[in-house]
């Protein structure tokens, strides 16, 4: 059973049949999700009201259209946040291997941080974070 779920693709003689385990896992994942969705549909309690059919049933009556033009600053801040947030994630593996990587690792991370700072200085100097014009 374990053999069936282990793909050995790096050894010589790999054929497309070696990918059978991956196919089995995909089938399992799809089957499990489908099964859970269907079973909650039958088991859970149901109370149908008109409010529950609204898109956001948060208690406050919704009004207006959400498709209005928004200030570009929102998008800019959001995309910059994602950018810098994802870069911070790279610190995590470094923090775990802090001792093992020694000074070489330290200088590599310093280089990374300096690139990071360059980008930060660039967006500040370009005025990407200024809200009032």
């Amino acid at each position: 059973m374990i053999d069936l779920l282990q793909a050995t693709v790096n050894s010589p003689g790999t054929t497309s049949a070696s990918y059978l385990p991956i196919g089995l896992q995909v089938l399992f994942v799809v089957g499990l999700v489908g099964f859970l969705l269907i079973i909650t549909h039958f088991l859970g309690p149901k109370r149908q009201t008109a409010e529950k059919l609204e898109t956001f049933a948060g208690g406050i009556a919704s009004h207006g259209d959400a498709r209005q033009p928004m200030a570009i600053n929102y998008f800019l801040v959001a995309i910059l946040f994602v950018l810098f947030d994802v870069e911070i994630i790279f610190f995590y593996p470094y923090a775990i291997n802090f001792r093992a990587l020694g000074w070489d690792g330290f200088w590599a991370v310093m280089m990374f941080v300096s690139f990071f700072l360059c980008g930060f200085i660039y967006i500040i100097k370009k005025g990407a974070l200024i809200w009032e014009d």
Partner: protein, 457 residues
């Protein structure tokens, strides 16, 4: 490796130049110095001086072919900057950022020219494409520029998706991304390999705008600000070709017999459609867009033949085509509009510019004594050496004759038509540079080995 790191660093330097330097000529000179430096360090690397000892772990291979093409690309970019950089000022406010994006594109060009792993090919193609989407749409108030940018983005993203699918299938079939170690069997090739190879072929055909994947090209080249069309149609296109040939030489050379008919049909279609459509164009810019498709047809012959001559040929072709096209675009940029009529009577106002323009056009048409002739000759020779495609060679020669019609229409307008045209102002330095480019084309047309010997020594 020199050029890869320095081009990326220079991209960042240009970004900061935009903040700290307000004078446009200073920005321009920094960029020109940067490209000159890139050319220098790349030539140093060709003679064995490598500043950065980085272990590429089989991801990249800086062989003579890659390094020589890098030199050609940097040289063309240097000429392009000297000739056309002042015209970038008219496009928009972010002068230094345009240079930064071009440096990042050069970084991608290095990756595509020297990849050994399919991952690096993908990365390089993306690093080339994404700054180009921005440059295409850089004329923000112009609707046509926006349309071109969106079209290019959608088509580019789509073809990149196809490429990734191909890479995935190949990985599934061979278990490696490394093109040197795929070891695809000649007999009984698995269907996964064939499917992956075809997907890669189609996506690369998108990038080099081969027919029937060319529909985005005229619109994008026409809508893009003319300065950037010049760069896009030359350096970027030849880089995509070098990547294309490198990929098929390394990975699929052993199953050449399986795909050469597909390549032959696509080549024939590209030659036919590119040339015939170019005949009917009324705008010089759009004519050059179709001419770039037809020139792509000739470069595809090198892919089809896949031998040592075709490697030499593609380098010579990239040089001849890039230099001539950059020159014509530089002159076109000085005109007020892009129709053939605006060139009427040009020879009387600007005899020197008209003269060098004739040399560029003759080179594109492939008339002897110019580099364009020898480039076409090498391509046809490579095809004949590989055997069984005599009909394609004959078709290519006929199509080269057709191309003479639309290139000579411009010469006819300049010399034999009356008109006041546009009185244009150009600096002596601009004229000198154009004369140098024309001289390069003629010298390479007589002594191609000045360039090609670099492949071996």
């Amino acid at each position: 490796m020199n050029a890869l790191i320095i081009s990326a660093v220079f991209g960042v330097i240009m970004m900061f130049t935009g903040i700290f330097v307000k004078q446009k000529p200073v920005t321009r000179n920094i960029a020109i110095a940067g490209v000159a430096l890139l050319l220098l360090v790349n030539i140093l690397e060709m003679s064995g001086i490598d500043f950065f000892k980085v272990h590429t772990a089989g991801f990249m291979l800086f062989d003579r072919f890659a390094l020589l093409f890098n030199s050609v690309a940097f040289g063309s970019t240097l000429i392009y900057f000297i000739l056309s950089a002042p015209d970038m000022e008219k496009v928009g406010h972010y002068y230094a950022d345009y240079f930064a994006l071009i440096f990042f594109i050069l970084c991608g060009v290095v990756l595509v020219a020297s990849f050994q792993s399919l991952l690096i090919l993908f990365l390089g193609i993306e690093i080339i494409s994404i700054p180009l989407y921005i440059l295409t749409g850089s004329n923000k108030r112009n609707l046509i520029s926006n349309e071109a940018s969106l079209k290019y983005f959608l088509m580019g993203a789509f073809s990149t998706g196809i490429m990734l699918m191909g890479i995935t299938l190949l990985y599934g079939a061979t278990g490696t991304f490394d093109t040197q170690f795929m070891n695809i069997e000649t007999e009984g090739t698995s269907a996964l390999v064939i499917a992956g190879m075809l997907l890669l072929f189609f996506s690369m055909a998108f990038k080099v705008s081969a027919v029937p994947f060319h529909f985005w090209t005229p619109d994008v080249y026409d809508g893009c600000p003319t300065v950037f069309t010049s760069f896009m149609a030359t350096v970027v296109k030849s880089a995509a070709f070098v990547g294309f040939i490198r990929l098929f030489y390394d990975a699929f050379g052993s199953i050449h017999d399986d795909w050469k008919l597909v390549a032959a049909i696509i080549t024939a279609l590209t030659l036919l459609v590119g040339n015939i459509t170019a005949v009917f164009q009324q705008s010089v810019k759009r004519m050059l867009a179709y001419s770039s498709i037809s020139q792509a047809g000739f470069m595809l012959l090198g892919l089809l033949a896949l031998n040592a001559t075709s490697k030499e040929g593609i380098i010579l072709y990239a040089t001849a085509y890039s230099l001539a096209t950059i020159g014509i675009f530089a002159i076109l940029l000085k005109m007020n509009d892009h129709s053939f009529e605006s060139f009427n009577g040009f020879a009387r106002q600007q005899p020197l510019l008209a003269g060098v323009n004739v040399i560029f056009l003759l080179s594109l048409a492939g008339i002897p004594l110019t580099a364009g002739f020898l480039a076409k000759f090498y391509m046809l020779k490579a095809t004949l050496e590989s055997g069984d495609f005599l009909w394609l060679v004959i078709l290519a020669v006929i199509m080269a004759a057709v191309s003479v019609y639309y290139y000579f229409r411009l010469i006819q307008a300049m010399y034999f038509k009356e008109g006041d045209g546009n009185a244009i102002e150009v600096s002596p330095g601009f004229k000198l540079m154009l004369v140098i480019v024309a001289a390069c084309l003629i010298v390479l047309g007589v002594f191609p080995n000045l360039l090609l010997n670099w492949l071996y020594f």
